[in-house]
Symmetry: C2
Subunit: 77 residues, 2 copies
């Protein structure tokens, strides 16, 4: 299975969801991207369909928005 990508921005909702996702699918199956630190990946996330964080891109390219931490507009500041 190729990896999922978990996009977040460091908010409390994000961190909680990150722990849940890692626990559910395994740390080796998910790449975690912190858009606050890796700001050059914001465009990549938007192209993948991410509207808010935290969000998980599945290996087949679907986007799962998990709870609601912040909109991409907030992430971009």
């Amino acid at each position: 299975m190729s990896k999922s990508i978990f996009y977040h921005a460091g908010c409390p909702v994000c961190i909680s969801a990150e722990q849940d996702i890692i626990s559910l699918i395994g740390v080796n199956n998910v790449e975690v991207v912190h858009l606050g630190n890796d700001r050059n990946k914001i465009g990549e996330a938007e192209n993948a369909g991410v509207k808010s964080v935290p969000a998980l891109i599945t290996p087949n390219g679907n986007v799962l928005h998990l709870n609601f931490g912040a909109s991409m507009a907030d992430v971009k500041g």
Copy 2:
């Protein structure tokens, strides 16, 4: 690991998320509950913190609301 519970109500967003979740965490690790068919489980879902469907209850009791299909008010009709 104890099972996660995936609550949904048959909406297209729910079915899509169900397939993603089963693919990510494995069909044996998640119990799928269709609240439209199992209406007596609506109270159980609400007590677990489900505000909208689809939603996943993790083994440690956290609620992950995935995308947005329908509010619990809609599910209750």
